[in-house]
Amino acid sequence: MLQGKQAKVLLFIVCVILGTMLSTQFRSAEQARNTIAQERAENLVEKLKAAEKENRIMEEKVKKLEDKSGNETLAKEIQNLKSKAGELPMEGPGIKVTVDDSKVVHKPGENPNLYIIHDDDLLRLINELRAAGAEAICINKERLLDVSEIRCAGPTVSVNNNRFSPPYVIVAIGKPETLESALKLRGGVIETLKFWGISVEVEKSDKLTVPAFKGTRHYEFAKPQIKAEEGETK
């Protein structure tokens, strides 16, 4: 049997080792929990990057094949259809509308919702622009097509499933004067929004660009009707 003092020292060492093991284990377990979440995020980022790369390669392939086909009228037709489908960036004269939340300090007791931009404000602006003959419209570089939604998504607005927060920049290509006056009508959209202090800046320009639609679209349910069947629509 070990003598008293020696045994005490050894016991002390044992306790120190036990404590060290405890806290090391605790920290390792803590770290393990964190790394799992991190690894997942890293994995997803990597996957996203790979998908983007593949996308680019495919796009190049499509372009090459289109060029190879050589048929000029066909190429022109494709170009035409693509521009109609919104798959080509467009440029031309138009207006640029910048909308931002109200800077007015609202009175206590008043609904703060009245002072911020909502999806329906944007929708009304877009509607007005379309009515005035805008040919290509985008919000914050996101092309608006027939499938594009403008929807409230919490504090942001979702366009083409991408979220944006104010300020919103709407670019519309069309006849600048018509577009501008459509928005600035007495009792029109801008006047209503200005009432709540929401700033709307309209800028006419001779050359604006609207980017191409970046998303994809495919028809799951809708099929083109090949034979026009009479009487069916009645």
């Binding site: 070990l2 044992v14 404590g19 093991m21």
Partner: protein, 109 residues
């Protein structure tokens, strides 16, 4: 004596904060070693209560049990046998047993 031991544990915990974190693959080994050591500690307390404590047995048991448990677990990982669970289960059961006996010895006094 008990104060010295508590100081030892606290010192160890503080020291452990500065020890580099163990790689993920060895966390299981450390946990098994920790379980074995804890088991020895509770066994030691029980022995003290029963009056048959021997510090040589205790200290050698502390190190040998810990290292051997970790080694067995390592072999298990290499062989594809989950000895880790078995070790944790066995040590856990023994720790609970010891705690129960310690409690009874206290109550008997």
């Amino acid at each position: 004596m008990i104060i010295i031991l508590i100081i030892g544990v606290v010192l160890g915990i503080v020291l452990g904060l500065y020890v580099p974190i163990i790689p993920q693959a060895y966390v299981k080994l450390l946990s098994v070693a920790l379980m074995a050591s804890l088991d020895t500690v509770f066994g030691g307390i029980r022995a003290v209560k029963e009056g048959c404590y021997d510090s040589q047995v205790f200290i050698s048991g502390f190190f040998v049990n810990g290292i051997f448990a970790a080694f067995l677990c390592y072999c298990g990982i290499r062989l594809g046998i989950d000895l880790y669970y078995v070790a944790v289960l066995a040590f856990g059961l023994r720790i609970f047993d010891n705690i129960a006996i310690i409690r009874r010895l206290y109550l008997k006094k």
